[in-house]
């Protein structure tokens, strides 16, 4: 295996001002937040403009990067001395390499489309300006996350996107459920952040630096135990951000946020940060096979769990959220497979960014048409009413289930085949996951767009305005061709190689391998079963109780129940105990001491009778004693 290319110091050119990608949206957010109501009228336009400007800078940087030879494409732009500690010394810089620029393009590109879409989607919200401010803040933080040249900068962006996610999930603050979901997302993410922070601590104490370049070059000298510890700690961080088991529970609740948020943050970009982290730390996982194995196990477990959850949800956004979990599981699986998998992971990530964003926005379009209804049992037969949405959603749907030659087919099959070569058990589980994907996505698609209408009264579905449909169309183009463009001819693999290392042999793509055929067959079975149950047959308006398995899936595999039983209730109990202990124990001890002294002096006080004769008696006794003492002393 060939390691990644050397990192080159860079200044000048567009790359020299690549910090503009971060600063522009940050500026937008600052203006919109500080400007207050004055910016209400044009706030959304500024938001879009800043996002687009950031995209343009990213594209220019990309073009300039392509101008260098493949081995020269890892460039660092030093910005300023961020943290001159006693021993630690972190210089903030941006690392521009194929990996980070891929992300930057995805984030700013899809991000801009979603900004545009939001103009229409949030048109009637009085706080639209604030929404765009938060979106811009998110773009800036996410770019910092992927562009930073060190772990500390990544961490700053990491928590920054967490903040943006918190603000956007809880955007409709007046809804208690939204506020609770936002808080939950932040806290669960913080658990993951703890892991990331721990990983950074170990990295620093081991290598004496947190910059990617020196750390990766120092990895071969580190012991495997240390690397495993780092790998597992970073994985905990990745699990939090990417909603992988066991920190998955927040993602489904996060659907309380406005739909563009779900599309941008909780489908296309932020949740994939964990994959970025694992790929970025690739050499560490290469040096720590155990940690890598755990990554793949987490990936497979999550892809199955997410798929199962997706089968039972009636809420269209939650079903899509389950699917997101599942697809990120695929990426994690790929990322755990080493350099062979990295390209597939990132390619699937990009493809997923397109088709999932397309579907979420499509779902948003449907909700827009159906008075913000999310229950698919009240949809049905929308295909004729909303042609553009139907087609774009359909293309995304076909892409995700791996319909031949569409994006998902290339990227997901790549992952499955690589996993199969690596470890057949993982491979077959991934295949089963693909089958379930076929079922639940078809279920979603048929329930929404086909069958008989089950609309509520006073619902008059209509196509969304152009400002919303155009992004859908662009995204669906990406979801049709993206995967093929990247994977065919190992184009993306070659492109990424300088950043993540080149695998020993490039995978050759067999369109009709055994695995590929098995996958297609299983998917077909899933689609057919879904058609029978939800396309052709009548869909009951109220969810049937369902089997044990259905309930299990509907309850998110009891994830919340487990969290509640294991953490929340003991936590509440512990809190009450601690408060009680503090009041009665610690403070009680102090107050008890005070009461003891007070009581004693209260008793002693009684000696002061106020009778002057009593005092005189004591004086007289004292005088007598003095005389006595004088004799004793004098006679000695």
């Amino acid at each position: 295996m060939e390691t990644a290319a050397e990192i080159v110091q860079h200044s000048g050119g567009v790359i020299g001002v690549s910090w503009l990608t971060i600063v522009l949206p940050l500026l937008g957010a600052a203006i919109l937040l500080l400007g207050g109501r004055r910016t209400d009228r044009w706030g959304h336009l500024l938001g879009v403009a800043m996002s687009l400007a950031s995209f343009v800078v990213a594209v220019l940087v990309f073009v300039e990067l392509l101008g260098f030879g493949p081995d020269q494409r890892r460039r660092v732009v030093e910005l300023y001395d961020f943290l001159p500690g006693g021993t630690i010394d972190v210089k903030m810089g941006l690392l521009l390499d194929p990996l980070s620029i891929s992300f930057a393009l995805l984030i700013t590109g899809v991000g801009s489309l979603i900004h545009i879409y939001s103009i229409g989607y949030m048109a009637h919200d009085p706080n639209r300006r604030r929404f765009f401010a938060y979106l811009n803040l998110f773009i800036a933080a996410m770019l910092l996350l992927v562009l930073a040249d060190n772990y500390l900068g990544l961490y700053v962006g990491w928590e920054g996107v967490g903040l943006a996610s918190y603000l956007l999930i809880g955007f409709w603050q007046h809804k208690p459920s939204a506020a609770a979901a936002a808080k939950k997302a932040f806290i669960v993410n913080r658990v993951g952040d703890m892991g990331l922070a721990l990983g950074i601590f170990v990295i620093f104490t081991t290598f004496g630096t947190v910059a990617f370049g020196p750390v990766m070059s120092g990895v071969p000298q580190a012991s495997q135990g240390t690397l495993t510890l780092i790998g597992l700690a970073l994985l905990l961080g990745a699990c939090g951000k990417s909603a992988q088991l066991p920190l998955q529970s927040w993602l489904l609740d996060a659907m309380e946020g406005p739909t563009p948020v779900s599309a941008l943050i909780h489908a296309a970009t932020m949740v994939t940060a964990g994959v970025y982290l694992v790929v970025r730390s690739g050499p560490i996982y290469v040096g720590a096979p155990t940690a890598a194995l755990v990554v793949t196990i987490v990936g497979v477990a999550t892809l199955l769990a997410g798929a199962i959850i997706g089968t039972a949800k009636d809420d269209i956004k939650k079903a899509l959220a389950g699917s997101t979990m599942s697809q990120i599981g695929y990426m994690m699986l790929a990322a755990g497979l080493g350099p062979v998998g990295y390209a597939f992971a990132i390619a699937h990530l990009i493809a997923h960014g397109f088709f999932k964003a397309s579907m979420f926005l499509g779902a948003g379009s449907v909700m827009h048409a159906m008075n913000d209804e999310v229950d698919m049992r009240k949809f049905g037969g929308l295909a004729s009413k909303m042609k553009i949405t139907w087609i774009t959603f359909g293309l995304g749907y076909l892409a995700i289930i791996g319909f031949p030659l569409l994006s998902g087919y290339w990227t997901k099959d790549g992952i499955i085949e690589t996993a199969m070569e690596h470890n057949p058990i993982l491979g077959w589980l991934a295949v089963i996951g693909a089958g379930i994907t076929g079922f639940y996505m078809s279920r979603l698609f048929f329930m929404t767009f086909h069958g008989k209408p089950r609309w509520e009264k006073d619902v008059h579905p209509h196509e969304s305005p152009a400002v919303m449909t155009w992004p859908l169309i662009i995204l669906s183009i990406g979801s049709v061709f993206g995967g093929g463009f990247l994977i065919a001819g190992n184009r993306f693999m070659e492109f990424l190689a300088p950043a993540v290392g080149r695998p020993e042999e490039m995978p050759s793509f067999h369109p009709f391998s055994v695995t590929g055929l098995a996958t297609l067959a299983l998917v077909a079975v899933g689609v057919a079963y879904a058609w029978m149950r939800y396309g052709r047959a009548e869909v009951p308006a109220v969810a049937p109780r369902g089997s044990f398995l259905t309930v299990f899936a509907r309850r998110d595999l009891y994830g919340d129940a487990i969290n509640e039983a294991l953490f929340m209730r003991p936590g509440q109990w512990l809190t009450r105990l601690a408060v009680y202990f503090d009041n009665r124990g610690v403070d009680g001890l102090v107050n008890g001491l005070a009461a003891l002294i007070g009581g004693t002096s209260g008793r002693l006080r009684r000696v002061q009778t106020g009778f002057v004769r009593s005092y005189a008696l004591s004086i007289f006794f004292g005088a007598a004693l003095l005389v006595g003492a004088w004799f004793v002393v004098g006679n000695l």
């Binding site: 001159p84 006693g86 021993t87 170990v202 020196p214 120092g218 503090d582 610690v586």
Partner: protein, 509 residues
């Protein structure tokens, strides 16, 4: 130019002037106080520009004999640590003055309005003095004298339980202070140098047993002041009962004297004893971090909640001080400053909320965000700084403390990491209960922040954000001072396991 004496003198003169303002002219008293505090701030900034971080350790030094027969001096000087803490104090005072504009007007206040503002100025002089004193006796005098204005500020202008809180605060502090007095005298006698000057007493006490006893005398005083678990119970009462401005000065600056004292006196004067007691102190700090956070989660009163979060944060600071690594030391010092800004902002905003609603109970609020978005937004930013969100300066300090502690003590550092999660729980849960959801009936008429309140909050938030992205100015001042402190403690500097060579590091960057 005797900078430090001028810094102390101006507020004292100002306090006398404010006290001399004729009765019934409260507004003049307030304006005068604000003007004086701004003058002090300007003077401090002027002094800071003359400070040379790479120069001698003690700068702007002044030494005059005070009580020659005991070798007591009026000796003041600042190093980087003292400088930033003095800066913290003088920045907070004008903000507090402005924030407390109407706090002393309430009918239940026992003393006149101008007295409150004169007390603030007196306190300011003492805060500067306590950080600047290099004579241990002088330090002790300021250390104890600071209690007096604070006692009156809590006891005369506080909430319903103010007498209880003020007496508790005073007794706790006196208890610690008297132990320290014994240690101060013992140090003078044992050292037998005929002087109380701190620089001349470094490294004088050699006997380990003596060191331990003297260390304990100083340490308990500072632990009560800081406050370290389990000496903390006075803080929630005092902070909850004090008017918001006094609470800011109490938690933001006064308590820092404890952690500053640990760094300056416990570590430097008794290095061996400090090393001996380090496991104990680290254990107490970690308990404080987790315990303070958990108890904070369970609070129903927001001022008490903020006070408990401070106990958790003070755990971080003491842990950083006693980890005795350069990173942790710098982080702890920076933490003292940042915590002042962060908790200051939180207390002041809580004060604004309480002024509007007349209740400190979280349950009495709900949906404030809808009616007062600026108030809610600033409250959120202040809260986020309390949970050390990156991009806010508290993150830098917490990160440095944790990573510096990890360099030497792995397990405590990992346990302390859980404080991060707990911080998110207590802050966001409070925010959720108070600011989001349906708007409570009594909250509906809330006005948003007015201009005065904005002027109070904005500088604090600006400092938090500014130093969050660019902490270099502070760290450049702090780092050399911390290094010198650690040198006098004789600890091995930390070296990474696999140091990446400088050449590679340079190339990598």
């Amino acid at each position: 130019m005797p900078w430090l004496s001028i810094l102390m003198g101006v507020p004292v003169v100002g306090a006398l002037a404010v006290a001399a303002v004729p009765k019934g002219n409260d507004k003049l008293a307030k304006q005068l106080t604000l003007a004086v505090s701004l003058v002090v701030l300007a003077l401090t900034l002027a002094m800071a520009t003359q400070f040379d971080p790479s120069g001698a350790r003690d700068q702007f030094s002044e030494v005059y004999s005070w009580i020659p027969s005991f070798g007591v001096h009026y000796a003041v000087a600042v190093d980087g640590i003292a400088l930033v803490l003095i800066a913290l104090a003088v920045v907070l005072v004008p903000i507090v003055v402005l924030a407390s504009w109407h706090d002393a007007d309430r009918p239940e206040a026992k003393r006149s309005v101008k007295t409150y503002f004169a007390l603030i100025l007196v306190l300011e002089a003492m805060m500067i003095g306590v950080f600047a004193a290099t004579d241990i006796f002088l330090f002790y005098v300021f250390f104890e004298a600071m209690l007096i204005p604070m006692y009156f500020m809590i006891g005369s202008y506080g909430g319903a339980q103010r007498s209880y809180a003020a007496v508790k605060f005073l007794l706790y502090s006196l208890f610690g202070g008297l132990l320290m007095l014994v240690a101060v005298i013992a140090l003078y006698v044992v050292a037998d140098k005929g002087t109380f000057l701190q620089p001349e007493l470094i490294g004088v006490i050699k006997d380990p047993a003596t060191q331990k006893w003297l260390f304990l005398g100083f340490f308990i005083a500072f632990a009560v002041k800081a406050p370290l678990w389990p000496f903390h119970t006075w803080l929630p009462d005092a902070a909850a009962q004090a008017p918001a401005g006094a609470a800011v000065l109490l938690v933001g600056v006064l308590d820092k004297v404890g952690t500053y004292g640990m760094l300056r006196f416990c570590l430097e004067l008794f290095p061996d004893a400090a090393k001996f007691f380090t496991p104990l102190v680290i254990a107490l700090s970690v308990i404080g971090i987790v315990y303070g956070a958990i108890v904070a989660i369970g609070q129903t009163d927001m001022k008490r909640l903020i006070a408990y979060t401070s106990i958790s944060h003070f755990g971080f600071i003491t842990m950083g001080v006693f980890a005795m690594t350069a990173d942790a030391g710098s982080g702890a010092t920076l933490y003292m400053v940042n915590h002042g800004f962060s908790t200051g902002a939180l207390f002041l905003l809580a004060g604004f909320l309480i002024n509007r609603r007349g209740s400190q109970y979280i349950a009495d609020y709900g949906g404030v965000q809808k009616v007062a978005p600026v108030l809610a937004g600033t409250f959120l930013v202040a809260g986020l700084s309390s949970l050390s969100l990156p991009g806010l300066s508290t993150f830098v300090s917490e990160f440095l403390v944790l990573i510096g502690t990890y360099e030497r003590y792995i397990v405590p550092s990992i346990i302390a990491l859980s404080g991060m999660v707990l911080a998110a729980v207590y802050i966001l849960w409070m925010y959720q209960r108070m600011m989001t959801g349906p708007t409570a009936e009594k909250v509906k008429a809330f006005p948003d922040l007015n201009l005065r309140e904005k002027v109070v909050v904005v500088p604090l938030l600006a400092l938090l954000i500014g130093f969050g992205f660019f902490p270099k100015p502070l760290l450049d001042v702090i780092n050399p001072a911390v290094q010198q402190t650690l040198t006098s403690v004789h600890v091995q500097p930390f070296t990474p396991a696999i140091p990446v060579t400088a050449e590679k590091k340079g190339a990598g960057q």
